[in-house]
């Protein structure tokens, strides 16, 4: 009961702390409106026009299907990369030798621009889902991998010494000592990767697929429909905000509750 009360209080506190964010969002909307007044509807449609275009798009059920398809691709690409890259990065970070050996490979893969991966994926896979999902996977994998590895390398040796005195097993050290330290490195990487995965999926869809938000934007471009483009941008941003602040941020707060504020 006490715990439940505490959790409810925390949720309320968290929502209340959102006012600052809301204020800056409104400031952004105001400058958008100002830009529209200066440049006109063709270059930059007003927020109202964009919202109207969004409304029109969302009346059509195809829009929801597109959003779902994009979500699915980003989710699977991100999920697979987050799980595999975190696990393999942690394993690689245990040993100094593997970290040194893998560093140039990470630099190499991070150096390949996402657009190049999209072209390759388009040629390799006939399947739309695979093209977008694979591109997300290869682009964000090295970012998460490098963070996990770095997190493992930066563990405090002093704590390990203490655990050795009390004869903790390797597994116990991983759970109680290593993971809590690595998570501080992993979380920022996950958030960055999550943002990137959306951008990459939309880009891959725009270039090579027949459905999803990116394909819808390609149609808007052909029709020189700036308002529709802005509407789709709003959808992407809204999805990202929802995922980050309703999903990742509360988890992060819970995990890092021991950190003094």
């Amino acid at each position: 009961m006490q715990n439940l009360k505490q959790i409810l209080a925390n949720i309320l506190h968290y929502l209340w702390s959102g006012w600052g964010g809301v204020a800056s969002l409104f400031l952004l909307l105001a400058s958008w409106e100002y830009g529209h007044l200066k440049m006109g509807s063709l270059i930059l449609p007003s927020p109202k026009e964009s919202l109207l275009a969004l409304h029109i798009a969302l009346v059509n059920e195809q829009a929801f299907i597109d959003i779902l398809i994009t979500c699915k691709r980003a989710f699977f690409g991100f999920g697979a990369a987050a799980i595999l890259a975190s696990a393999s990065g942690i394993l690689a970070g245990i040993s100094m030798t593997t970290s040194m050996a893998l560093r140039p490979i990470i630099t190499f893969t991070m150096g390949v621009p996402p657009i190049a991966w999209i072209i390759l994926a388009l040629m390799w896979f006939a399947n739309d889902d695979m093209t977008a999902g694979f591109t997300v996977f290869v682009v964000i994998f090295p970012i998460i991998f490098a963070s996990a590895m770095q997190g493992m390398r930066m563990r405090r040796a002093t704590l390990n010494e203490m655990a050795n005195i009390y004869q903790l097993s390797l597994w116990q050290k991983l759970i109680h000592l290593d993971l809590p330290q690595v998570i501080s490195y992993l979380f920022p990487a996950w958030i960055v990767a999550m943002g990137m995965s959306w951008k990459i999926v939309v880009m891959a869809e725009l270039l090579g697929t027949n459905n999803g938000i990116g394909a819808a934007m390609a149609t808007a471009r052909v029709n020189i429909d700036t308002a529709a483009t802005m509407a789709w941008i709003l959808v992407i941003i809204a999805m990202l905000l929802l995922i980050e602040y309703l999903f990742l941020e509360p988890i992060k707060r819970h995990i890092e509750r021991w950190k003094p504020r």
């Binding site: 002093t158 704590l159 010494e161 203490m162 655990a163 050795n164 005195i165 009390y166 004869q167 903790l168 097993s169 116990q172 109680h176 000592l177 809590p180 021991w258 950190k259 003094p260």
Partner: protein, 242 residues
């Protein structure tokens, strides 16, 4: 036969440049041995070697004690675990017993409220109590102390030493401790080992036969004056201070 025999012929952080050389001593049940020396003389390194945290390049350390605990200069608590979970961490290798953890915490002067807190929410003295509880809950028969109370004020330090002594007397624990405080060494130890030179060697061993309970302030004062006249102690504390 002694239960811990330390025989280090050579050890160095870089193999070609030894920090410690030709050190031999033994620790038996219920014995308290203090290693003294100037800061940077290799006391902590020697303690780590004796505890098996690092290994000598040449020589060996044979440990027949069942369970050991180590109190570091810093508390080395896990900041992401509350105090209760920090205490039970040392039990993970055997069996976690929260009830026993509570008993030991109470003995060390912690209450139930403190146990729910994270280490960052406690004062230095309270954190050290948690570390003590974590060490004693495993019921070690050999305890390594690396100046754990160095950062505390002298009243708290006195109290911590009493807590420690109570536990040691109760269970007949052996202790190998490092200190740069002669008073502390004279008050607690059965034998004092003086570390000096570069690479560090044992320059002098001093046995104290007077029983621990009868060592009063006056005895400690007189004994300290006597020790401070010894040439080995003067030189070993001077080497680094020049």
């Amino acid at each position: 036969m002694s239960l811990l025999s330390v025989n280090i012929k050579e050890y160095g952080y870089m193999p070609i440049y030894p920090n410690i050389r030709n050190i031999r001593f033994e620790v038996n049940i219920g014995q308290i041995i203090a290693i003294i020396g100037a800061s940077g003389s290799g006391k902590t390194t020697l303690l780590k070697l004796a505890a098996g945290l690092i290994y000598p390049h040449d020589g060996d350390v044979i440990n027949h004690f069942n369970k050991q605990a180590y109190l570091f200069q810093e508390t080395r608590l896990l900041p992401w675990k509350n105090c209760l979970d920090n205490i039970t961490l040392s039990q993970l290798a055997s069996k976690v017993d929260k009830k026993k953890a509570r008993q030991y915490a109470l003995l060390m002067g912690l209450n139930d409220e403190d146990l729910k807190k994270y280490p960052t929410e406690l004062s230095g003295g309270m954190r050290q109590r948690v570390a003590l509880a974590r060490a004693f809950i495993t019921e070690p028969d050999l305890l390594f102390l690396d100046e754990p109370f160095g950062a505390l004020d002298f009243m708290l330090r006195e109290e911590m030493q009493q807590l420690l002594l109570g536990q040691i007397e109760l269970q007949k624990r052996a202790v190998l401790m490092v200190t740069h405080d002669l008073d502390e060494a004279i008050k607690l130890a059965d034998m004092i080992i003086v570390l000096g030179g570069e690479p560090a060697e044992i320059t002098k061993s001093i046995s104290i036969s007077k029983s621990r309970e009868t060592r009063d302030a006056e005895y400690i004062f007189v004994e300290k004056q006597r020790l401070m006249q010894m040439p080995e102690i003067i030189t070993s504390f001077k080497v680094r201070n020049q």
